[in-house]
């Protein structure tokens, strides 16, 4: 019997992940009450600090993350925003940060951020770990992708 020059294939069965069903169940589960409460309280602290004019960069990060998550949930049609709460919160953030000379926050800006907080708490009560993870991944991709600037064509 001629011997083949090709080496014999080695069969290496891959091990089965015994925790796969746990991961699947975790992904399909709603966010835990503990996590939601801690995130809500962090956002509460951040907005309170903004109201006092003492917000640090990490607290602004909390607010931006909440705004971005709410916006992504609306974009993914997992939530509706008929009251334009996300847009108003974004505008309030931009107005506060662009203001020079004073750290004071207007009542309408604080109200916009608080309205976002209320909606954000309710949104987190209805989404799963997988949905939150996918939203955060999409936010990260959007942040990495360069902005496409359309240069208008010159008039003939």
């Amino acid at each position: 019997m001629p011997r083949s020059s090709r080496p014999r294939k080695t069969y290496r069965p891959r091990g089965v992940n015994l925790q796969a069903h746990n991961v699947a169940m975790h992904g399909a589960a709603l966010l835990s009450l503990d996590d939601r409460t801690v995130w809500a309280m962090r956002l509460d602290d951040a907005i309170t600090a903004v109201g006092r004019g003492e917000a640090a960069a990490t607290q602004w990060d909390e607010i931006f993350a909440a705004v971005a998550l709410a916006e992504q949930l609306v974009m993914d049609r997992l939530a509706a925003d008929p009251g334009k709460i996300v847009a108003e919160a974004q505008q309030a953030c931009a107005d506060i940060l662009h203001r020079t000379g004073s750290r004071a926050v207007k009542a309408t800006e604080l109200a916009a951020l608080r309205a976002l907080q209320v909606d954000w708490i309710m949104l987190l009560g209805g989404i799963t770990h997988t949905q939150k993870f996918i939203c955060e991944e999409r936010i990260a991709i959007r942040r990495r992708s360069p902005q496409t600037i359309k240069v208008p064509k010159p008039c003939p």
């Binding site: 503990d34 409460t37 309280m41 509460d44 109200a111 608080r114 309205a115 907080q117 209320v118 708490i121």
Partner: protein
Amino acid sequence: MTREQYLDILLLVSTLESMIIAHKVPVPDHMFDALSKAVELLRREIINAPKQPAA
């Protein structure tokens, strides 16, 4: 009461406080102060307390 029930109350009270600010609901000062104190108290008692180990 269980920890989950306390957390539910904390989220509820905190949301109520934010709704009052967001929608500018006219609430007497002493009631709003009491609400804020309740949020702080619950936070100190529940969130900052270590979790009970599962039996």
